[in-house]
Symmetry: C2
Subunit: 278 residues, 2 copies
């Protein structure tokens, strides 16, 4: 069983309008609401691949209940720890080709609520093969939260987050950390010119030392994996059309799915299209 | 007791952002969610004035549960009839001086669900002094819905809606109908040049014949009341600053509040600042 941790889930609401009136009343021609956030994208992907998965996290209020109900409908097992605050929404307005997104911050999490989650987490990881920790931290939780959870896991941990929480999680010995290029650039303090070359691998290994592997997702260019044994790049075999939201998130599911478990992330990369970067 | 009917309630979500990035991710600096729609504005106003009130309507899903929870918190008694669909949200983005609003349509209401509401309504109006019917009809309910509810009420009815539902509600003998200038202009089929004069009163009486009184709200110019006995205008005693949303809705509360009950809407008008229009 794979435990997927989602500390700051969201209900993603999308409105499609023909042409936004940016000073008036718009009546969306289509409205969709679905459970959002990186961790839930990972859990949905694992579930679709037939992997036994359990979502843990923090959820509260009617929006939290909405996230739980939507996961039940999808058949994805979840056991959220309740919080008093209201789970956040994200709103996206799609106007022809443009998308404006509005991301609420999430509820403030109290110490007693987090302690309850920690107890639930410890019970769940005792029976797990691996843990995936994905997404932002809600207000009230310190940047070292993921580092502590990784150290306490006792099983390999895949971490997909950003900023100081990502750096500390790597230092705590994550099996794999999975930034995208922008997240890595933010840590490096400036834009990264290279796309998938050895220079990028060196930056990844330097900024995120402590992790056994750094997988950098490169959007349509695929991904780069930097490990102690070398550096590999995988490109998509074909260009895919459609909404790319969540595609990078779902990459965190690959190393723990099926034959790719037990830290055989290089096997996972070879299954797509790998070249060694020198 | 005053029954306030709200067939298409909403959870109003407001995001304040400093400057919208209309093609990227925005992180609102303030998020507010509160029960919305005209009927709930009336009920809140009556409750604040100390009037015994009961909100009826249709609510479903986690958003419906959110509306009910928010009314409980405000201390406003409500007994919604459950529907299978999800109660709508409205989403407003405030960007400095501009407001963009996105109004979801509301759930499709089934015949059996509406029949259950009708039974709840009939029980409630049996013990009521008056009924206020406010807001749009959800998808699935015909334009004659308010007319039927007014005829079945057995007590004076105040109606605040638009279009054909408004016209038919007046024809069914509403005590008071309360369009704003734009809603009256839509019925009249063109812009109305006059603001509060006898010409406007004639249009109001003509378009909404059958109602005992037509009260037209005129924004900062106050309101006009056209009855069989004559036509009166009330102007605000002073200019008020702030967000005007809901101010027009709340006018429907005045004729049924406290000393202004029993159809003494002229008494209500005189209490503010009345002049007869000739």
């Amino acid at each position: 069983m794979i435990v997927v941790v989602c500390l700051n889930p969201a209900l993603d609401v999308t409105h499609r309008v023909d042409a936004v009136d940016w000073g008036g009343v718009n009546r969306p021609r289509a409205v969709h609401a679905r459970p959002g956030c990186k961790g839930l994208n990972v859990a949905r992907t694992l579930h679709a691949l037939g992997v036994d998965v359990l979502v843990l996290g923090l959820a509260g209020g009617v929006t939290g209940a909405g996230v739980e109900a939507a996961l039940r409908e999808l058949g994805v097992p979840a056991a959220f720890t309740p919080v008093a605050g209201e789970t956040r929404r994200t709103f996206s307005v799609i106007d022809g080709g443009r998308v404006a997104a509005f991301h609420e911050p999430g509820p403030e999490v109290g110490a007693a609520e987090y302690a309850e989650f920690r107890a639930d987490y410890q019970k769940a990881v005792a029976g797990a093969e691996a843990v995936v920790l994905s997404g932002s931290l809600p207000p009230g939780l310190p940047a070292g939260t993921y580092a502590t959870l990784i150290q306490a896991a006792g099983v390999p941990a895949v971490l997909d987050t950003h900023g100081e929480a990502l750096r500390r999680g790597a230092a705590a010995g994550a099996a794999i950390v999975k930034p995208n290029l922008a997240e890595l650039a933010a840590l490096a303090g400036g834009p990264l010119a290279t796309r998938g070359g050895p220079g990028l691998a060196a930056v990844a290994a330097g900024e995120l030392s402590g992790a056994q592997a750094v997988v950098v997702t490169l959007g349509p260019d695929g991904l780069l994996a930097a490990t102690a044994d070398g550096c590999w790049r995988a490109r998509p075999p074909a260009t895919v059309a459609g909404n790319a939201t969540g595609a990078g998130d779902a990459v965190a599911a690959a190393p723990v799915a099926g034959e790719f478990r037990h830290q055989d992330y290089l096997g996972a990369l070879r299954a797509v299209a790998v070249e060694e970067v020198r």
